[in-house]
Symmetry: C2
Subunit: 145 residues, 2 copies
């Protein structure tokens, strides 16, 4: 099996924050809405093709990010989805939403038309919080996903 | 605790097909794309607020519908989501997708502009298949969710 690598489109659209035992954590570069993406290390493209135990583990990693969004970032709603119409590699969206946000009540896909960049210090701050609260680990040195 | 009831907007938009141990199964009335909705019997609105065991059970019920969509209806991709921006009651979308379908590659939310009704016999046929393949049960007699 060839080494796992994150799809180039996801790499282009996102900051890579680190990893959990089962998946890599990305943050979409558009800072208008906190939009995290988990990429499980698997060649399967459908969440429901995973065996029950790895699926459970990936969902619990998702739950950890969802708690970070609601408790630390104070966004009351989570939009959670596995879509993959454009990027076939399995990836799970975890998006913090609130009434009045830049595309409320629409979904973000195709509707987040403005763009805003994250300041570098925000990425560092969130990564440190995720390491402390969720057990996120840095990517292995020299690992180029 | 008041008896559980399915949100009136979901009842208006969908056919009620039956139930699993943890959730009710709806089918969106728009027949252009096979769009199932699972409504877990809970007052919580966020999938990730569920305790791990009921969450695992609801995800496995979702997996059963996903297999029905890919294996019986022969749609190669599943769009899976918990959104709830418009209807706050927790509900999980399980949608069969394929290249070239009526809103490919967009998501269905806000993008499925045409409408087509299911023939009654299709609803009966799918319900019978779901009972046989997925263990779907009829709603209790007189139960008006």
């Amino acid at each position: 099996m060839s080494p796992f690598s994150i799809h180039p489109q996801l790499r282009a659209d996102c900051h890579l924050l680190g990893r959990f035992p089962r998946s890599h954590l990305l943050l979409h570069k558009n800072a208008l809405i906190p939009w995290f993406i988990l990429v499980p290390e698997t060649d399967l493209t459908n969440l429901f093709e995973l065996a029950p135990e790895p699926r459970r583990a990936v969902i619990e990693e998702s739950a950890s990010i969802a708690r970070f969004i609601t408790e630390e970032l104070a966004f009351p709603r989570i939009n959670f989805a596995a879509i993959g119409n454009l990027v076939p590699q399995l990836h799970l969206h975890l998006i913090g939403r609130r009434a009045g946000d830049p595309c409320w009540p629409l979904t973000v896909w195709g509707n987040l038309l403005e763009n805003l960049s994250y300041p570098a210090e925000r990425i560092k701050e969130w990564t440190a919080m995720l390491e402390k609260k969720c057990g996120l680990k840095p990517e292995a040195q020299g690992q180029d996903h």
